[in-house]
């Protein structure tokens, strides 16, 4: 019988990270758009702030990869 435990674990690690990133980026993105509309000079800073939550999904990806590679 095929063991689905490892891929499901990896999927959860990656999926939840991606979900967290999505929620955070939606809020930061909306606020960033507002800030740039009023102060166009803050565009560069906003770009960095919007990108910061990407770390969540990257960490999720690393954990997923570790599960897949190390537990196999």
């Amino acid at each position: 019988m095929v063991d689905f435990g490892i891929p499901i674990g990896a999927a959860i690690a990656f999926g939840l990270g991606a979900l967290g990133t999505g929620i955070a980026q939606s809020k930061i993105g909306a606020a960033g758009a507002g800030a740039v509309a009023e102060k166009p000079e803050s565009f560069g800073l906003m770009l960095i702030l919007v990108a910061i939550p990407e770390t969540l999904v990257i960490l999720g990806f690393v954990v997923a990869a570790m599960i897949m590679l190390m537990l196999e």
Binding site: K27, G34, A35, E38, K39
Partner: protein
């Protein structure tokens, strides 16, 4: 189609607008300016540049500043209203800006009551609320108080209700105060009805309205003491549901018959700061000093909302109060300069919050 706008976006824009509010050092620079023309030049280097430039084409001197400030004030609120339209928070903004509608209607009624020319009334209006400039122009064109109320009723504007209900009494006594108190009561009652749920935003707006009710009531109490109004009659001029003062407490303040006595009763309330007002001012019954202190308290409360939840209605509330405070201060400086008021006295008149 209604587009849902997130409060994250709205509040980020408002914070951006807040960053353009004048620094206290600019007020100091304005105070140091020798005349009104140099104040106009200085304001032209700030966020008021655009409106000052537009106004200076048609007007000069104090009128140029007045027109520019009024336009900037209206534009700021219209801008907030534009990006809040369709959001759940729109109802809060309608409540907050409704104060201007009330003030404008009162100004028109006062003007019509004493037959001031329409152009002069129009100059005093600030159409920052729901009723826009076109509506105001039409209202001002009416020949008398009754015609203004009738037009409001014809357009189905809710403020016509309290005015129509109290018009008979007004025409018998010729006391405009009756219509004004009816408007205030109607506004506060409806505003509180709209924010009776238990959400954080509802709570914030409710607290601000109830504080405003307290301040309005205290001001009325002082006026009633000065005019020696009977306690029984005083009941008609008080608004229910203040945050710290109920009707009984306010009536007992009226009963004391003196400013000092009334202030003594406020010792256990947040308005205890009034006891710092010098005794000679209380004896001379200078209401303006007390009103200024109360106004300052209200503005501080409003501006402190900036420290609240950044994803709530607290930010728009804070901005509205901060902007109002800034415009008031610039007007005080400009008017004082035209009247050659010494710098020290101008500083005392300003409301630094």
């Amino acid at each position: 189609m209604v587009v849902r706008v997130e409060l994250e976006y709205i509040n980020a824009r408002i914070k951006g607008m807040k960053s353009r509010l004048l620094d206290p050092t600019v007020f100091e620079t304005l105070i140091h300016k020798p005349d009104i023309e140099s104040i106009i030049i200085e304001l032209g280097t700030t966020a008021y540049k655009e409106e000052i430039e537009k106004a200076s084409i048609q007007y000069s001197g104090i009128l140029c500043i007045e027109v520019a400030l009024r336009k900037d004030f209206i534009n700021s609120f219209r801008k907030i209203y534009r990006f809040m339209k369709g959001d759940e928070s729109e109802k809060y903004l309608k409540i907050l800006l409704g104060r201007w509608d009330i003030q404008n209607i009162k100004t028109i009624l006062r003007g019509k009551n004493i037959h001031i020319p329409s152009a002069e009334i129009l100059e005093c209006l600030i159409p920052a609320g729901e009723l826009d400039e076109t509506t105001m122009i039409e209202l001002v064109k009416q020949p008398d108080v009754k015609a203004v109320i009738d037009l409001l009723a014809t357009w189905g504007i809710s403020y016509a209700k309290p005015l129509t209900r109290n018009f008979k009494e007004y025409s018998e006594k010729r006391d405009l105060g009756l219509l004004e108190y009816a408007l205030d009561r109607f506004y506060y009652k409806n505003a509180l009805k709209a924010v009776k749920e238990g959400s954080y935003d509802d709570g914030l707006v409710r607290e601000m309205i109830m504080t405003e009710i307290d301040v309005t009531n205290i001001k009325n109490v002082f006026r009633m003491i000065r005019d020696k109004i009977d306690v029984e009659e005083a009941k008609d001029y008080l608004i229910d549901e203040g945050i710290s003062l109920n009707t009984e407490k306010l009536l007992s303040m009226v009963k004391t018959g003196t400013f000092a006595g009334a202030i003594k009763l406020l010792e256990t309330t947040p308005y205890a700061f009034l006891s710092r007002v010098p005794e000679e001012i209380l004896k001379a019954q200078k209401i303006s000093v007390l009103e200024k202190d109360l106004e300052k308290y209200l503005i501080t409360r409003g501006k402190n909302q900036f420290l609240g939840d950044p994803l709530s209605i607290a930010i728009p509330i804070g901005y509205i109060w901060a902007k109002q405070n800034e415009i008031t201060n610039i007007r005080i400086i400009a008017r004082s300069k035209t009247a050659d008021v010494p710098e020290k006295e101008i500083r005392e008149e300003l409301i630094y919050v």
